[in-house]
Symmetry: C2
Subunit: 151 residues, 2 copies
């Protein structure tokens, strides 16, 4: 077994590239941007998440009480850039999730260059994030965030 | 990318080992046993199913109107035995699905030896099948099938 290809196959089914947003009055733009890569499993499959964590050498496995699952998650922008993105560039996804990854990669690059601190780039980041498939439940509607930027 | 390991990773998330049953008055036991391996995806990810079909060299990709998904499926007992089982023995699953695979393997072996034609073995096959995780919606309750055998 080649762990690299296994990880891509598993992530193609179970992985999630997400960019979430929070309102933060102290920030110049008023909005915090948080990209993350995660994989959730029920408690019986916790071991595979720990193996993936070990493989990537970053992120955390934690228990989510809400849906009674374990979640492997990488939130650090530098680790996303240095470990997660290069993996999926070298071992590319094959499902429609690949489109999410391409957008995610653009956003992580922008954030790692601090571009998200300017309202113009942040607007673009918000638009891109909300076009992603795997974004799940959203705390805010896109329009609500964009309105905050327009002030 | 090593396709073998990718396939195991993808199946660990998205694959399904199932054994389903139908009532067939013409059979001595009154019950038909149908083991199958399948992977479903939405229409945008049809290509990965075709790649997996090509890799295994068996099974079919078909559109399921009910849930608007594409499904790669292998139902042939000889192909399950000759192509699907050896793959997952050489490239083992890592999640709780591995437990389903172990039971599935036992059942496919019994069926390929025609053991399912005897009521005693068939009872065992039914019990094992209903203990599997990924068995999904069942047409019959286990008790209903077992009652049929006891006649």
């Amino acid at each position: 077994m080649e762990i690299e290809s296994y990880v891509t196959g598993f992530a193609d089914g179970e992985g999630c590239f997400t960019v979430s947003f929070s309102k933060r009055a102290k920030l110049k733009t008023g909005i915090e941007v948080r990209p993350s890569f995660s994989i959730s499993q029920n408690r019986k499959s916790k071991a595979v998440l720990e193996e993936i964590q070990k493989y990537f050498g970053c992120g955390f496995v934690r228990f989510s009480r809400g849906d009674q699952t374990y979640k492997y998650e990488v939130r650090s922008v530098s680790e996303l850039k240095q470990k997660i993105l290069p993996h999926f560039e070298k071992y590319p996804l094959k499902t429609v999730k690949k489109q999410d990854f391409i957008i995610f990669k653009e956003i992580v690059s922008l954030v790692s260059e601090n571009k998200h601190r300017s309202s113009n780039y942040l607007k673009d980041i918000i638009e891109k994030s909300y076009s992603m498939n795997g974004s799940g439940k959203r705390k805010y509607k896109k329009e609500e965030l964009l309105k905050l930027l327009a002030r």
